[in-house]
Every structure is written in structure tokens, then in C-alpha cells.
Symmetry: C2
Subunit: 440 residues, 2 copies
Amino acid sequence: MIAPLRVGIAGLGTVGAEVVRLIEQQGKILSARCGRGIKVVAVTARSKTKKRGVDLRGIRWAKDPMAIAVDPEVDCFVELMGGVGDPALSAIEAALASGKSVVTANKALIARHGLKLAALAEQHGGALNYEAAVAGAIPVVKTLREGLAGTGVDRVYGILNGTCNYILSRMEQEGLSFADCLKDAQRLGYAEANPSFDVDGHDTAQKLAILASLAFGTKVAQSAVYVEGITSIAAADLRAAAELGYRVKLLGVAVRTATGIEQRVHPTMVPRTSSIAQVMGVTNAVTIDGAGISPITLVGPGAGGAATASAVLADIADVARGVRALPFGRPVAKLAATTKAPMERHEGGYYIRLMARDLAGTAARIATRLAEQKISIESIVQRHPDGMIDAVDATKKSSPVPVILITYATSEDAMRRALQAVQSDKVISGRPQVIRIEKN
Amino acid sequence: MIAPLRVGIAGLGTVGAEVVRLIEQQGKILSARCGRGIKVVAVTARSKTKKRGVDLRGIRWAKDPMAIAVDPEVDCFVELMGGVGDPALSAIEAALASGKSVVTANKALIARHGLKLAALAEQHGGALNYEAAVAGAIPVVKTLREGLAGTGVDRVYGILNGTCNYILSRMEQEGLSFADCLKDAQRLGYAEANPSFDVDGHDTAQKLAILASLAFGTKVAQSAVYVEGITSIAAADLRAAAELGYRVKLLGVAVRTATGIEQRVHPTMVPRTSSIAQVMGVTNAVTIDGAGISPITLVGPGAGGAATASAVLADIADVARGVRALPFGRPVAKLAATTKAPMERHEGGYYIRLMARDLAGTAARIATRLAEQKISIESIVQRHPDGMIDAVDATKKSSPVPVILITYATSEDAMRRALQAVQSDKVISGRPQVIRIEKN
């Protein structure tokens, strides 16, 4: 029997404490599965005295993360502190430089410094595992890195932020406003006091950048992701989506196009019957489209102590079993450059909701303006104040009435030019609401 | 750079030919991902001259599978012939005994001889990979074997047979009979001329036996699986399920109970809002419940040349990268004995549909008989001939009327005794239909 894997953990929040507990509790199964034991030999955290409900006797308390990272008695450095810079970054660099394997749940760090860290891991022979950084307990990093090794991926997209999905689910189910649902999410602990990182799409963008790199062999780069959040989504959009056979989700989408890999985060209309549309509440999901195969969808808890700890433990077990997958699935030197795909060239269908001042005149105007840009309309409907929708009756006149359009695939550029023209025509009040459609 | 992995393939049907094609087409990506090339050096199949749409020039044609299995110039033996016995079995044994790694899509063989083969693989240091044997392109073997290494799994269940799911989906959506849907499935090539292996649940049982072993560390044993097929399911059951908030799926379920691991295959009522209930048509899905974490569900194509080839290729890539996971996740010597859990001790809720001869008398009788067995009724409804359901009105009298019961959790034993008593009372005509309920 090989000697046990000696693990050092920096960060003992909910996840860190749960990892310590699981390694103790699952010790026998883990050693049967890995062919060797796993032993936590050192830990550190900001407070040594805090109650954590886990037995730390017999485990050395290190003075700081760096002390664990360079400790010759530690084989695997587990970083669960978070933060995009130091102390996490320096400690991980030091651990990798000394030939240790590193396990982290830190998406921000991997999205920002992943390439540099992957190069260090390759150079010194350690693993750099970060399953917990994307979609919690869902084994999507492993699936893209190893499980689909030979499949040409064409598209990967997912619900990667539980806060946004919780808010959109409640808005739809209860007809509430974004602001009300956000307040509830904050009260329940699903959203931060400053919710911008979640609701403006940045959390999703970091995770998407990592998935895109794994799927397409490009350099991980958060700056290459187009980002739009969910703050402008109204209950009216969710109602209209439902009636038109769609649901609105904040998706991260990375897709191979004729002009390169397009990475984007935005509210998205998905067909109501798709697997991804069924995912409600704080749950996460990722769909992978491969060449010639039907999509694979992975659904599960995207956050929470137990789910994250489960993914961290799987990563540690891989280190113990001697698995050394390349951090981004390919050597860093072979990862392709990443460029930000210009959204004006994005091609797809659009949902457009606007307030018509004069319904007859507006319908005719919109039709003309869209035709000028060669955009075909799949459906055009108006919403009566009572909430029912009907085909537009051009003879009706009333105060501003919502008109909802679904277009066939067109370019974003053409769509924007058409809407600009409609606005110049002064037949609508306010700005049009635009939501991209993603077909499955 | 390490020398390329030399692959020999026995069996060149749709899957085998696709594997040859993918290795050629994806060569560059595969070698970047694996750190070495992958090269098909030998193939064999029943006919050498058959047109397969794939270029076999430069690849040696072996006289039989055994010739590849013992060829010192082959590192990895890929078995895609199928069949539970020879030539597949002897060839795989010979390949493993010579220290080669083996990749196979043969579920019947793994379910029957998996233990013996795993022991050989362990002894001689080769891999035994069989991702394609269960749920096609869905990486469920990898997820259970590696991705959830440290999570205590409590239950794994899934839709593992596309034929049955296709039939049940169409029966529900179009109100058709089992026989009509089966005929259609046969016409479309989703069902065999002799459909028994699929519709009687045996295919699902083989796959479940494999999943149960991976999830719970028990010896793989198809004989430990209780099996019931879908032939008795009527359109009326699917209609009633829909109205009661359920859907009927043929599930394979392996679950840890107080008395051991219960493995069972049977038509199952699942809550309509669960991830598994959304899976329609030939698609497969597996849900894994872990200790303290919300369920993970993996959805994707369960069959078809491209999907199966994708899983086979991932297995080959793992061999190339030097990954050697234990075939059942733990050493064979540590796998626990498997016993067939007696279904009479199964605990759960039940859907019961019976034809009441005299509604008032029958309702009272059923209530009494269930109460005698301490079974609580969640709902009891009758179906009018027009298809609507209503609360039972005990004052009505008519010709036999369907009565549908949903019970709270009870033991199968108690439920069977109660129904036996109801039948002895002669208040119903025909046999009651019973479908187990699986809560998510």
C-alpha cells in the first residue's frame, strides 16, 4: 500500500470544515477507491478559535497559507480561502512550484490566473484541479476535460449562477418584480448585500470562461466574455415567454461560429421543453452539444457547503489515485488565443417587446423597418391590459400597448439597426426590451 | 513525447467504424489532450469486405479477436462485438491477462462476468473501461467511479432503456396503447423484432447492476435485481399519472435501505416536476442522490453509433493518459456481497388502479382493507367514462368504474395483503394495477 496522501487545507469556512469532516468520515471508502489513504495533516484559517463543529485535534495548525504551500510534509495543497489575489495566489504558485498538487474552488482565481497556474502545474508535474469552481457538485470540469476527450464540442451553455436562476424562477412562478425577488433572495441568503457580481452576470462570466477553455482549447479569458445581467427583465417578459413556449434563463453560452468562439452571458429565451428550461431555483445545469451527438445535460446543486465539498473531495481523490489531467485539457502551449467575438455579428433569433403608441401605425412601421434589414418575423403579438395575448388587430387604437415580436435568426447588427429606425420613427414609447433566443 | 497508444478493435459495426473514423479525424486534439497519439493498428470483424464508409488502409486485418487480444504490438483491446460469451469473453480475458487495457461497450458481459474481468485487470495492471455499456454518451460510469469518489451515495436511479422511454412517452403524448407504440418503435428501428429484452426490463437490469456496484461497492450481480417490465402499463395509467402530478417511467433504482442495497427495475411514478420526469423519447438519464447534497442528474443520448463511439473514445483516451481507475471503483476483494432485497419488504408509496363493481361498497371495502394493514391513503379518485377524475362520490352506482388510489409510504407486503383481501371481497373486477412511486 502506498503512503497516504498528505493534505493541507487553507480556509476553514463551511466548505473547508466539511472537507475535513468528509475525509475523516469517508476514510475507509476513500482509501478503497484511491488505493491509499487520505490524511489532513495541516490546516490554517483566519481564526484559530472559531467553532467549526469539526475535530481538528491531531492536525497541525499552520501560521499562514504559505507555510502549508511550502511544507515538505504536504503533498496536496487545498485552497478554500477565495479571493482573486494574495494570499491565495502566491500560496498556490508556491505549492505548484514545489511540485505539489493543488485543489481549489476559486473560480475568480482560475478565470484570472488559470493559464499561469496551469503552466506551473505542467512544468512541475502537479495536478491543478478545480471541479468545485464551476457548477458546484456537477462534474462538468471532469466531463469536459476527460469524459468527452474525443468529441468535438460545438457549444456549451448553462445556468451557472443559482442566485439569478432563483430570482427568475420566482419572478415567473409568482409574477413578482425583479426588485422584490432580489430582496427575498437576500433575506434567504441566496444573494449578497451587494448583488451586482451575481445579477450583472460577472459570476457566470468567470465560470463560462473556464468552461469555454476546457471545451474549445482556448486560453481562459474572462475579458473575452460579453456580459449582460438580468436587472432589466420584467415579469411581463417571463409571462410572454411562457405564452410563446419559452422560459427566460441567465445563460453562459460558448459556441463555435464561423468567425471564432463566441462567449456570452445574457438573459436568454430557451424552449420550454428543453432540459435546461426545467431547471428551477438555485440549481445549476450545463448542456454540452457535441459533433453528431444529442446534447448531454448535467443538472445539480451549484453551491452550498456539502455540494462544493463533494467536488473538492473528488479532486483530492484524483490526486491520490495519481491522475494528472492537464489543467485545461491540453498543454498550455497548445491553447489557442481567445478573442472577444463582436456581438454585432452574433446570429440568432430575438424576442423584442416594445410599447406601441399607435398600434396600427406601429405594426406597419416595425414590419417595414425589419423588412429593410431582411429580418423575418416568426410571430408578432400584442398584449391586452388583461394579460391575454392575441394576434395584432391593426384596426385597434389605444394608449401604449405592449407588442411582442419573435424574429427568425438574423444578425444582432441588423436587429439593432431595425430597432434604431423604429425608435427614430417615434412610434414607440421607451426603449425596446430585447432578449436573445437560444435554440436547443 | 511518449509513443502512440496502439489500439486494436474487434467489431466494426456502426460503433466500431465510428471509433476508427473519430480516432483518425480527431487525431490532433486527442494527442494534445492525452500527451500522446492514438493509433488504430489492427481490426477484425465478421466480414472483411463489407462497405463501412471508413478508410481501413494501413490498418492490419487480424484473423480473429483473439489474434488482436494477444498481439504484443497492441496496447489497448477494444471489444465492440457484443455477446455475453465467446468470442468476446475469451478475447477480453486474454487481453487483460497479457497486461493490456480493455475498452468495451458490452453491458451484458460486464454485468455477467465483470467481477472476474476486474480481478484480471487489477492483477495485471490494465484498465477495464466500459463507459459506453451504461447510458451511452452520458459519463455516468466516470462520475460514479471518480467524480463522486468521496460522496456517500444513497440512491442511484435512471431511465436506462431508450426503447421503453420512447414507448411510454408516445403512449402518454398520444394516448396510444402499448401494443401500438411498440409496433411504431419497431418500424422506426428503436425496438427489436423480439422486444422482450427491452420491454421486460432485462436491459435496464443489466445496466442497473453495473451502476449499483459502482455506487455502493457491491459485487455486480444481475441476479440481485428485481425486474418488472412495462407491458402491463395502459394509457389510462399515464392519463391518471398526469392528472395526479406524476409521470410513469421505467426506472432502474438502486437504493441503500436499512436491510441492504435494494436493486429494482419496474414502471415507476415520478413527480412530474422532477428532472427525470422531463426526459422524453429515446433519451437516457441518471439521477444520483448523495449524502447531504441535492441530486445530480445526467441526461443524454443512451444509444446510437455516435454517442456510443464518443464514450468508447473517452475510455481509450483515459488509457492513453495512463489513468487506471479500479474497474468497479474499489478493489474486487473489497466489494461487498450482493443479495437480492426481498421486494415484499420494499417501502414506498403506491399507485393502485382497480375496477370497482359497486362504487359505494368498494370504496368502503378498500378503506377498511387498507386500514387493516395500517396503510394511509393520500388520495382516492374515480374516473368517469369521459376521462375526468373527481373525488369519489359514495352515493353513485354504475357499471365497473376505475378507482385510483395513491397511498402514503407503506411496505409492499402490507399493500399486497390489502389488495388480496379486496380481491377476496369480490368488489372489484379483474386484477388491480399497481405502480410504485419514487419520490425525488
